[in-house]
């Protein structure tokens, strides 16, 4: 084993800046990284707490955050910087949280050994993160290093690439669907940057629709609480194999689809009886919101997912996932396309849907739905799977990337890869 391998075997560091969690740690963590919320709490400098603890820092991150929360009002001082995967250039508070969280993670695992001369850190950002985010993150690492030499070299990779690495797939399409949006990224040993397709639709949109359905069912007062609506979506929402067939079946045999859901720890019970067919609207909306049945919700004021521009990328609102995958893959070389359809990796919380045993076939899981959407459009021979260990796979990909990429490969802004040497 070379000297470089020996060093990296101890001091490769992965940092996955996810939308809600920050997963980090050195290679020596083994299989599972340390996980904290990707958030920071801004202390009120005039508060008694601030003065009492003589805190010199203005942002608290990591496991300490709950200790500072005093009331629900405090939640407004909690900043989740990576909402939607992109931080605005001028959003200073969000960048302060990223800085503090990065510092916290490196210091937490700082080795005491004398042979330690800084980590090889591999950070992972969303595939839609613009170039200035890479610049900002490198600046942050440089600043941390000026205070204390903790980083030997840094690099940044896209989260879908890290997922593909962790899943040992060198040719694949990674679909990452989170709260705010969905990104489709083909990979053939490199992320195929100009084939990335972003959709401005995610778990949050399904929550909005669930809220409207709850209002229709007479639970309008509860529909205002997002955490509650999300639980209802997760427990009652179903993905239909075919929306029209599923609605017909559920209207014909409502007893088969009727459901009662009691919110644990409360006295609230949601009942769906003759309206149980609406369960299918929730799942379908994530994958394809174009059915005419949704028109009545839009007419009554539910916001329609819009096309928006974030950074350099256009996020389409109403594009169905089948269409989005085809659009992405068709931007790749023709000879590569069949191989990409054969390995579609579904990643992210928005793909976790339940399929109750007694309605299997009418309700399906996310991987089957993707296959069916593509089949409708004439694409056969598709393999779609959910990623294993979705929480850790990006961090694992970062660790492998950091270990394997040679240290003499210098960072190139053209290629957006290589090592940025900081020591």
């Amino acid at each position: 084993m070379s000297e470089e391998e020996e060093y990296k075997k101890a001091y490769t560091f992965g940092a996955d800046y996810g939308t809600s969690d920050f997963k980090f740690g050195p290679i020596t963590c083994g299989e599972i990284p340390k996980i904290i919320h990707n958030r920071g709490y801004f202390l009120d400098k005039d508060s008694i707490m601030y003065k009492a603890f003589e805190a010199s820092k203005e942002v608290v991150v990591g496991d300490e955050v709950p200790l500072y929360l005093q009331s629900s009002e405090d939640l407004s001082k909690l900043i989740y910087p990576m909402k939607n995967g992109v931080i605005k250039k001028e959003d200073e508070r969000a960048w302060r949280v990223v800085e503090e969280i990065s510092r916290y993670s490196l210091k937490l695992f700082k080795p005491s050994s004398e042979d330690f001369h800084g980590f090889y850190i591999v950070a992972s950002l969303s595939s839609v993160s613009p170039k200035y985010m890479y610049e900002k993150l490198f600046e942050i690492y440089k600043k941390i290093n000026e205070e204390e030499p903790l980083i030997k070299a840094a690099t940044i990779i896209q989260q879908p690439l890290a997922v593909a690495i962790a899943h040992k797939a060198t040719t694949c399409v990674v679909i990452e669907s989170g709260h705010g949006n969905t990104q489709i990224c083909p990979i053939s040993r490199y992320p195929i940057k100009n084939a990335i397709v972003a959709v401005n639709r995610g778990g949050g949109d399904a929550n909005a629709l669930t809220g409207e359905i709850l209002k229709d069912l007479g639970y309008g007062d509860l529909a205002r609480e997002e955490a509650f609506v999300r639980r209802v979506k997760e427990n009652l929402g179903l993905i239909p194999a075919n929306l029209e067939d599923a609605i017909e079946e559920a209207k014909g045999k409502p007893e088969k689809f009727m459901v009662e859901f009691k919110i644990p720890g409360t006295r609230i019970t949601i009942e769906m009886k003759n309206e149980a067919w609406m369960r299918f609207l929730i799942g379908e909306y994530v994958f394809n919101p174009n059915h005419e049945v949704y028109q009545s919700f839009f007419t009554r004021g539910m916001p329609k997912p819009k096309d928006i521009k974030i950074g350099d990328m256009i996020f389409k609102g109403m594009l169905d996932f089948g269409e989005a995958i085809i659009e992405s893959i068709e931007r790749c070389p023709i000879e590569l396309q069949p191989h990409l359809y054969k390995q579609i990796l579904l990643s992210g919380g928005n793909f976790s849907w339940k399929v109750p045993e007694d309605v299997e076939g009418i309700a399906v899981d996310a991987a089957t739905k993707i296959k069916l959407l593509l089949k409708e459009k004439g694409i056969e021979d598709v393999e779609a799977v959910m990623t294993e260990f979705p929480q850790y796979s990006v961090w694992r990909g970062c660790i492998i990337y950091g270990y394997a990429v040679p240290q003499d490969y210098e960072w190139s802004w053209e290629r957006m890869e290589g090592w940025n040497k900081l020591l």
């Binding site: 593909a164 040992k168 490199y190 940057k193 070389p333 045993e357 069916l372 660790i399 492998i400 990337y401």
Partner: protein
């Protein structure tokens, strides 16, 4: 009380077995995977003229979940039983008095895979998985049939002209000899990961599809 004593004597007779169930008129033992059941007829019941027949039938029913079954009778009444009938049905005969328990006819060992509750549950789980697979296949097949039906309809109506498509020739990439990556002391996700070889070449080869 007397019944209790009889059961204790029988338990002592089968002391190498472990008793897993004890009721007034029967005992169940287990040794390894085998189940042994004993139907006990007390001296009190024998006054009823149908009691022996009744007990013998109950004993026979125990073969459903037992490998060996005995009928236990007071010694004094054993002589009125035709041992051959019991033997023909595989039933063993035990006699007892206040002093001892004796095996008059050994019970026949009936080989069978006894389905325990766990076995049933496992079987149900296997069937559920099988059913799920079938449903998935059925769904995909249904969708294929629907597509085919549509295609046939379209073809029938002459709406689709089938273009001659020249198939794209896919260049076969010959597998390169793999670089052996040592995984000594590395996390398990390094094992057999083709990316180790790919990434080790970063900076040394032209980018193919990345831009």
């Amino acid at each position: 009380m007397i019944e209790q004593l009889i059961r204790e004597k029988i338990k002592n007779f089968f002391k190498e077995y472990s008793c897993i169930e004890e009721r007034e008129n029967y005992l169940t033992f287990k040794i390894g995977d085998s189940i042994l059941s004993i139907e006990i007829l007390s001296g009190k019941e024998i006054l009823d003229r149908n009691a022996i027949l009744n007990s013998a039938l109950k004993a026979l029913a125990k073969f459903e979940y037992s490998n060996k079954v005995y009928l236990a009778l007071p010694k004094v009444y054993a002589s009125i039983i035709d041992g051959e009938i019991l033997q023909n049905h595989g039933l063993g005969l035990l006699t007892y008095d206040e002093k001892e328990v004796k095996e008059v006819i050994p019970a026949k060992f009936i080989k069978k895979q006894l389905l325990t509750k766990e076995n049933y549950e496992r079987k149900i789980e296997e069937l559920k998985i099988e059913l799920k697979k079938l449903k998935e296949n059925h769904m995909l097949l249904k969708s294929t049939v629907d597509t085919l039906k549509n295609e046939v309809e379209k073809l029938k109506k002459g709406l689709i002209k089938v273009p001659l498509i020249k198939e794209e020739k896919i260049t076969e990439v010959k597998p390169q000899p793999k670089l052996e990556a040592s995984i000594n002391g590395l996390p398990s996700f390094f094992k057999n990961n083709p990316w180790l070889e790919v990434l080790a070449k970063r900076g040394k080869e032209p980018e193919t599809y990345g831009s």
